[in-house]
Structures are given as structure tokens and as C-alpha cells.
């Protein structure tokens, strides 16, 4: 059955996950013009951090009670790695040609995958992530698993908190100023190094929340999970207009819904029967990216940025 409400629900859930991860790409890019290709691995490490907490708790702990601790564990692991990477890998390269930090990010991405593969117990295969038991829920004509509900609550909460932080707090204002003109931000008394650390921290924390959602949805975490999901989230950030936090979430949702609709409906179009279904969804996601880049290179909510003097 391919009814529309179900496909939309699938798309929104997937898209909200892409959106949460995309925040990390877009905030870091907006402030230091770095495409942090290791961000997908930060997401993966968030998943393993949460799993570690789950394994450390008594087996009988109800998942609902364990969940806050697992989120905290995931966030701690992801933030620790992201901040360390910023301090020791990216910061020394600030001011270097852009290719240098980009290659560093790719190297870091591979190193983090391999480190988890090698040293996390039994991580050479996917590890089982706890699942909510119980019936799935019926919302507006769609069936939603209990684990998926987590994301539908967490994503709007995260976005609202981030929006308030950026627009209402002094540090958030400082962050906007740093994104628009870093040198002048320093003249205002803004410690831009600290702002950059905060951007990495928020991005990693949101990625960890997305990783918990990913684990609850698919019932497993594995060392490769950050690669394709990270690429999709990066696509979402570009789609929405890189540098714009609302664009990242919008780009995620558009991408998720487009994937779900392509999976569900493309094969109903005459002559397209062989292009439907799950195996083609990545292709359609990247076709959408190419179309947006052709028609609206700055992304859905992006602005044409004038080069800095």
C-alpha cells in the first residue's frame, strides 16, 4: 500500500533526522566556511555513545527511563570528539588554503570510522540498539512506530531552542555577527574562537540526538552509518541554503519527503517502473540536489552572499 499520508509521514521522519544533522554542517560552514566531512562520523559516534550508556545500565531498566541518559551519553561522546577535532585538527589550519581543512575533514572521517570498527567491542558488525516495544501509533492516517515518535518530539524542540538561542541571547547574537564578519566581530569584543567551539558543540549535540533517533528507528548502529546519512544531511544543508539553520531543517524535510514520495510513486509513472522502490531513493535525492543547484544555486532559503572585502 502506498497511501499518501504514510509516505508523507515517512518522509517527515526521515527529513527531520537529516535536518538535525544538517544543522551541524550549516552552522560550521556559516562561521568558518568549512565543510566538516567528519560530521557524519560525529553522528555515528553519538549513536555509539548512547549505546554504551544503554549497555552500562542494568538490563531491566525501562527504555523510557534510560533514554535521557542515553541521549546525554551520545551528546557527550559526539561533542567531545567534535570539540577535540576543532581544537587540534581544524583550528591550526585556520587561515590555510581551504583545501587543507577539507582534506583533514575527510581524513578524520575515515579515521573515526576505522577507530570505532577496530576498538569498539563487536563493532565490526552492526550492533543492536534498544527498541521501544508496543503497538505503533496511528496519526492522521499514517502509522508511526514508537521509536519514530521520539524524533517527531525531539526535532521541533531542538529547532525551537536553537532559534531562540541564536536570536535572543547575547552569545547567539555574537554567533550571527561572527558568521557575517568575523574580524569585525572580534572588534566588538566577541571571542570568535569560543563562538566556533559553540557552533561545533551544537552541531554535534544535534547529530547525537539524530543518532539516537536513527538507532530507535532502525534498531541498530554501525560504524558506517554516518557516511551516507551524513552525505544526505549535507545535501539537505545545501538544498536549504548552506549557512542558514532554518534552511537546514527545511532542506532535510524536503529531501526526506522527496525520497519517500520517489520510493512510493515513481514506479507508478508509466515507463518508470524499474526506477521506484527503496534501491533508487538515493538517486532521486541527489537528482533533487542537482536540480536545486541548477535552478537556485544559493539553496531554498539561502541568500546570494557578496564576497567579503
Amino acid at each position: 500500500m502506498h497511501q499518501l499520508p504514510q509516505q508523507l509521514a515517512n518522509g517527515i521522519i526521515l527529513g527531520a533526522m537529516y535536518g538535525l544533522i544538517a544543522i551541524g554542517y550549516t552552522m560550521v560552514y556559516g562561521i568558518v566556511q568549512l565543510i566538516n566531512f567528519a560530521h557524519g562520523e560525529i553522528f555515528m559516534i553519538g549513536g555509539f555513545g548512547a549505546l554504551t550508556v544503554h549497555l552500562a545500565l542494568p538490563a531491566a531498566t525501562p527504555l523510557l527511563l534510560a533514554l535521557p541518559l542515553m541521549i546525554a551519553g551520545g551528546i557527550t561522546a559526539a561533542v567531545a570528539i567534535a570539540v577535540t577535532a576543532e581544537r587540534f585538527a581544524y583550528r591550526p589550519l585556520r587561515g590555510a588554503p581551504r583545501l587543507a581543512p577539507l582534506i583533514t575533514a575527510i581524513g578524520l572521517s575515515i579515521a573515526l570510522q576505522q577507530a570505532v570498527w577496530k576498538w569498539y567491542p563487536d563493532a565490526k558488525k552492526a550492533r543492536v540498539f534498544p527498541q521501544f516495544t508496543g503497538d505503533s501509533l496511528h496519526l492522521l492516517g499514517a502509522t508511526v512506530q514508537r521509536g519514530e515518535l521520539f524524533l517527531l518530539i525531539a526535532a521541533p524542540l531542538c529547532m525551537t531552542a536553537l532559534g531562540l538561542f541564536v536570536s535572543r541571547t547575547r552569545t547567539g547574537r555574537g554567533m550571527q555577527a561572527t558568521a557575517q564578519d568575523p574580524d569585525t566581530a572580534r572588534l566588538m569584543g566577541i571571542d570568535t574562537d569560543r563562538i566556533i567551539v559553540i557552533a561545533f558543540t551544537i552541531g554535534a549535540a544535534f547529530a547525537a540526538v539524530a543518532a539516537v533517533a536513527h538507532g530507535l528507528k532502525y534498531g541498530q548502529v554501525d560504524f558506517r552509518m554516518g557516511f551516507i546519512t551524513g552525505l544526505k544531511a549535507f545535501t539537505a544543508a545545501v538544498l536549504g541554503g548552506i549557512g542558514n539553520i532554518y534552511g537546514a531543517m527545511l532542506g532535510g524535510l524536503v529531501l526526506g519527503i522527496a525520497e519517500a514520495l520517489a520510493t512510493g510513486y515513481i514506479d507508478h509513472i508509466p515507463g518508470m517502473a524499474q526506477f521506484g522502490g527503496g534501491s533508487w531513493k538515493d538517486v532521486w535525492a541527489f537528482v533533487l540536489l542537482i536540480l536545486v543547484l541548477l535552478l537556485r544555486p544559493q539553496g531554498l532559503l539561502g541568500e546570494r552572499v557578496a564576497d567579503r572585502a
Binding site: R173, D183, L187, M188, G189, T192
Partner: protein, 243 residues
């Protein structure tokens, strides 16, 4: 104006600043006393902007010393220097285009915790530049060049600086707007603000300045009071367009 025995607010000694291997400032020495307007004039590439960027901490000096109000600034990061009372309104204005005018002004007071006094200063800046009050909620990028210059100056004043550094405040402005900006600087001077002014409009700058220094390729080649340099034949030839 200033009693000669008053200690200088800013004391720059043998300052060298380089971009990589290219030395843009090659050992300059000058002082700014409280209440003075000091101007640096000279052609493009003379090292005036580089000097200001080193003073505010955006560029690390290669050698030499900078003393400001009892502190040694060599190597102090820019965001700490503002806190010491040195404000820098940069060349090209550099307002934050996507933030509102009021948000821009509030960023000038980023480090200040004295909310009431910050609000007083906001009123003062509004009185100085009424257009910034009229258009308070608009994105700063919608302002004209002259209005952006007012915003940049207002923003620098919002830190309640002991020394205000203005880099090319009249650059690219219409003659009317240029006059307005220079009048405002005169107003600030009359109110006792200490100013270090870099300006390509040498005539206007010298007319305002207590002390003036002419820079050429990274060195100070001539110093004097504003009035002295205004009547100096070589300065008139080189910078005031006389034959």
C-alpha cells in the same frame, strides 16, 4: 589643549607589522594624549590601516611596543583590547548587514554589563545620528553608505571607548555626507573624545587634528600639529592637490 605633563593614553614605539614577508609598517613611533585628535594621513599603501589593525589586535605586530592606558597590548587578542577601552571603526564600515541597526549598535556594547548606561549611550548615539533611531528595526544592509558610516561610528561609541579609532570615515561618501561625518567628528572632539583618525581627506583631517603624522611606505615622514601640516608646502603639494 592638554597639559603637556599628562601621560599619553596611547604610546606606540618602533612598531613593525608585516603580512607574511611584506613589511607594511616599518617602525613607527607616536603618542595620543587624552582629549586629543591625532590623524595619520598618507596615500594608499602607506600603512595607516595596517597600523590601526595592529593596535586593535587584528594583526600581530612583528616587533615594537604598544602601551594603552597602562596595558601593554602586544599579542593581546582583539576581543580583549575592546574591553580595555580601545574601539576601532574599520575601513569600509563593516556593519553587520543582516542584523538590524539596533542589533548592530548593541553588538558595540557586547562586553558591557551596565545595562542602564548602555541604554543611555544608545540614546546618545541616536541623538548624534537620528537616522539610526528612525530606522532602528531595519536590516543594516539597507542603509546608504553614509548612514552605514554613521552606524559604524555609533557602534564603536557604544563600547564607551577611551580611544576611538576611525579608519577612513569619509571614504566613498558624497561631499554633503562627508561634511556631515567630519562635523560629527568635530562634535565628538568638542565633547572630549580622544580620537585616532585615519583619513584620505587630508584637508578635513588636518583641520581637526591636534597632532598629525604623514605616513609614506610604512614610515612616519613628517609630524606636527594639524595647523602646521596644513600650511606645510610639501604636504600641500602631495596631499592637498596643490602645484
Amino acid at each position: 589643549m592638554t597639559p603637556p605633563h599628562a601621560p599619553p593614553l596611547l604610546e606606540v614605539h618602533d612598531l613593525h607589522v608585516a603580512y607574511g614577508k611584506i613589511e607594511a609598517v616599518k617602525g613607527i613611533t607616536f603618542t595620543v594624549h587624552p582629549g586629543e585628535v591625532v590623524t595619520l594621513i598618507g596615500t594608499n599603501g602607506a600603512g595607516k590601516t595596517t597600523t590601526l589593525r595592529a593596535l586593535s589586535g587584528l594583526l600581530p605586530p612583528r616587533s615594537g611596543t604598544i602601551h594603552f592606558n597602562g596595558h601593554t597590548l602586544n599579542g593581546t587578542p582583539a576581543h580583549r583590547i575592546v574591553a580595555l577601552g580601545l574601539a576601532h571603526s574599520p575601513e569600509g564600515r563593516h556593519i553587520f548587514p543582516r542584523l538590524t541597526i539596533t542589533e548592530n549598535l548593541q553588538l558595540g556594547a557586547y562586553l558591557r554589563k551596565d545595562t542602564t548606561a548602555v541604554n543611555d549611550d544608545l540614546q546618545r548615539v541616536h541623538a548624534l545620528f537620528p537616522v539610526l533611531a528612525e530606522r532602528a528595526r531595519q536590516p543594516a544592509g539597507t542603509l546608504s553608505g553614509g548612514e552605514q558610516q554613521m552606524l559604524a561610528m555609533g557602534r564603536a561609541l557604544m563600547s564607551r571607548p577611551k580611544l576611538l579609532m576611525l579608519d577612513e570615515p569619509s571614504m566613498g561618501l558624497s561631499p554633503i555626507m562627508m561634511r556631515k561625518i567630519m562635523d560629527t567628528i568635530a562634535e565628538l572632539k568638542a565633547a572630549g573624545t580622544t580620537i585616532l583618525l585615519v583619513e584620505q581627506n587630508a584637508q578635513a583631517a588636518l583641520a581637526l587634528a591636534d597632532q598629525a603624522h604623514v605616513m609614506e611606505v610604512g614610515r612616519i615622514v613628517l609630524s606636527g600639529t594639524g595647523a602646521q601640516l596644513l600650511h606645510d608646502t610639501s604636504v600641500r603639494k602631495a596631499y592637498l592637490g596643490e602645484d
